[in-house]
C-alpha cells in the first residue's frame, strides 16, 4: 500500500462520509461543558473551595458567637487557615489556567502541559505537607493559650509538672514522622492521579524530538 495513491480516496470518500451537522447542532455544542481533564480539574477545585467555605463558615460563627466569645481565638485560627487556603486555591487555579494552550503548536502545547502539570504536582505535595505542621502548631498554641488549667488544679500541675502530651518537645517529635509520612503519602497520591498522564505526555514529546 502506497500512501500517495490513497490521498485521493482519503480526501473524497472521507469527506463524503462525514455526518451532516446543522448550524443549530453546532450552536448547541458551544454551550456544552468541556470534558477535558484540565476543565475537570478546575471544576473539582471550585467544588473543594465551596466545600471548605460551607464547612468552615458555621465553625467560625460558632466560635465567635458561643462561649461568650471566649473562644474567638479558634475562630481566628480558622480565618487564618482560610487565608492560607485562599492563596493555595488561587495558585492552583493559576497553574491550571496556564496549562492549556490549544492554539500553540502540538509540541509547545505538550511541553507546556508537562511543565505546568509538574509545577502543579510539586505545589500540591508541598502545600499538602506544610499544612500539617502549621495546623498542628496553631492547634497546640490555641490549646496552650485557651485551655489553661483550672484555678484549683494549679497546685496539681506545680507538683506533678505539666503532662507529657503538653510538652512542646513531644509535639515536635511526633510532628516530624507525621510530616514525613504525609509527604510520602502526598507524593504517592499525586503520582497516582497524574503520574501516568505526565509520563504519557513526556513519551509523546520524546517521540516528537527524536530523529
Amino acid at each position: 500500500m502506497e500512501l500517495d495513491s490513497l490521498k485521493y480516496a482519503w480526501r473524497t470518500l472521507e469527506s463524503r462520509s462525514a455526518p451532516d451537522k446543522s448550524p443549530e447542532q453546532i450552536r448547541a455544542l458551544l454551550h456544552q461543558r468541556s470534558k477535558g481533564p484540565v476543565e475537570k480539574m478546575r471544576r473539582n477545585l471550585t467544588g473543594e473551595l465551596l466545600l471548605i467555605l460551607v464547612t468552615y463558615t458555621p465553625a467560625i460563627l460558632f466560635y465567635f458567637l458561643d462561649f461568650d466569645g471566649k473562644l474567638s481565638g479558634i475562630a481566628w485560627l480558622f480565618i487564618l487557615l482560610l487565608a492560607f487556603l485562599a492563596v493555595y486555591f488561587y495558585r492552583k487555579n493559576r497553574i491550571l489556567k496556564a496549562m492549556q494552550c490549544t492554539g500553540c503548536t502540538l509540541r509547545s502545547s505538550l511541553q507546556q502541559q508537562v511543565d505546568t502539570l509538574k509545577r502543579y504536582t510539586r505545589f500540591y505535595v508541598r502545600a499538602g505537607t506544610i499544612m500539617i505542621p502549621i495546623m498542628t502548631i496553631l492547634s497546640w498554641l490555641i490549646i496552650r493559650w485557651k485551655f489553661q488549667p483550672a484555678p484549683g488544679a494549679d497546685l496539681f500541675y506545680r507538683i506533678s509538672g505539666s503532662p507529657w502530651w503538653q510538652h512542646p518537645l513531644t509535639w515536635l517529635i511526633l510532628l516530624i514522622p507525621i510530616t514525613i509520612g504525609v509527604y510520602f503519602l502526598n507524593v504517592w497520591y499525586v503520582g497516582r492521579l497524574y503520574g501516568q498522564h505526565i509520563r504519557k505526555l513526556q513519551d509523546l514529546l520524546r517521540e516528537m524530538e527524536e530523529e
Binding site: 480516496a9 462525514a18 448550524p23 481533564p37 494552550c101 492554539g103 503548536t105 502545547s109 509523546l204 530523529e211
Partner: protein, 173 residues
C-alpha cells in the same frame, strides 16, 4: 450576547460547518467508538470556540483548526470509554465496522485505517496531514517539528505502513 458577539458566533458556526469533515477525520483516526467520536467532536468545537477570539488570521483557518483539533485529540482526552478487546482488533478493522464501502479504493482505505490504528498518536497526526496533502511548512506550523525531522519520520511511517499491509496480506499478525 450583543450583535458583534452574535455575528462572530454565526461566522464561527459557518466555518465549523464548512470544515467539519476535517474534524471528523481527526475523530475517526483517534477514536474507536461512535460515542467517543461524538465526545471528541464536541470537545474540539468547544476548544475551537474558546480560542476563536484569539485567531488573528496569521495562518490559514484550516491550519489553526488542525492545531487545535490535534491538540485536543492527543492531549485532552485522557481516557477512551469504549475500546474493543485486542482479539477483536485483530479480527476486524474496528473503527470502521459500521462503514460499508464497495470497491478496491475503499477496501484499501479500510486497510489503511487498520494500519493507522497501530501507529502512535504522533504518527497518526503525521499520516493524516500527509493524506490531507498539507505541505511540510504547514505540518511544521501545526506540529512544531522541524521539516527535516518530519521528512525522516514520514519515510519511516511509510515503510512501517507498507510492512504492516504486507503482513496483513500474508496473514502475519
Amino acid at each position: 450576547m450583543d450583535t458583534s458577539g452574535r455575528d462572530m458566533q454565526e461566522k464561527f458556526v459557518g466555518l465549523v460547518q464548512e470544515h467539519r469533515s476535517l474534524l471528523y477525520k481527526v475523530c475517526r483516526v483517534y477514536c474507536f467508538s461512535e460515542a467517543d467520536r461524538q465526545d471528541l467532536f464536541q470537545e474540539m468545537v468547544i476548544q475551537l470556540w474558546r480560542s476563536y477570539p484569539h485567531f488573528r488570521g496569521e495562518s490559514k483557518f484550516s491550519t489553526w483548526l488542525y492545531r487545535i483539533a490535534l491538540n485536543t485529540a492527543i492531549s485532552n482526552l485522557r481516557k477512551q470509554r469504549r475500546r474493543p478487546s485486542p482479539v477483536d482488533m485483530n479480527e476486524v478493522p474496528t473503527p470502521f465496522q459500521d462503514m460499508t464501502w464497495p470497491g478496491e479504493e475503499e477496501e484499501q482505505l479500510q486497510q489503511l485505517y487498520t494500519a493507522i490504528d497501530k501507529l502512535s498518536e504522533i504518527e497518526k497526526a503525521l499520516v493524516m496531514l500527509y493524506l490531507e496533502d498539507r505541505s511540510y511548512d504547514e505540518m511544521e506550523e501545526i506540529l512544531g517539528i522541524n521539516q527535516n525531522n518530519l521528512r525522516v519520520k514520514m519515510n519511516r511511517i511509510r515503510e512501517k505502513l507498507r510492512n504492516m499491509t504486507k503482513e496483513a496480506a500474508y496473514g502475519i499478525r
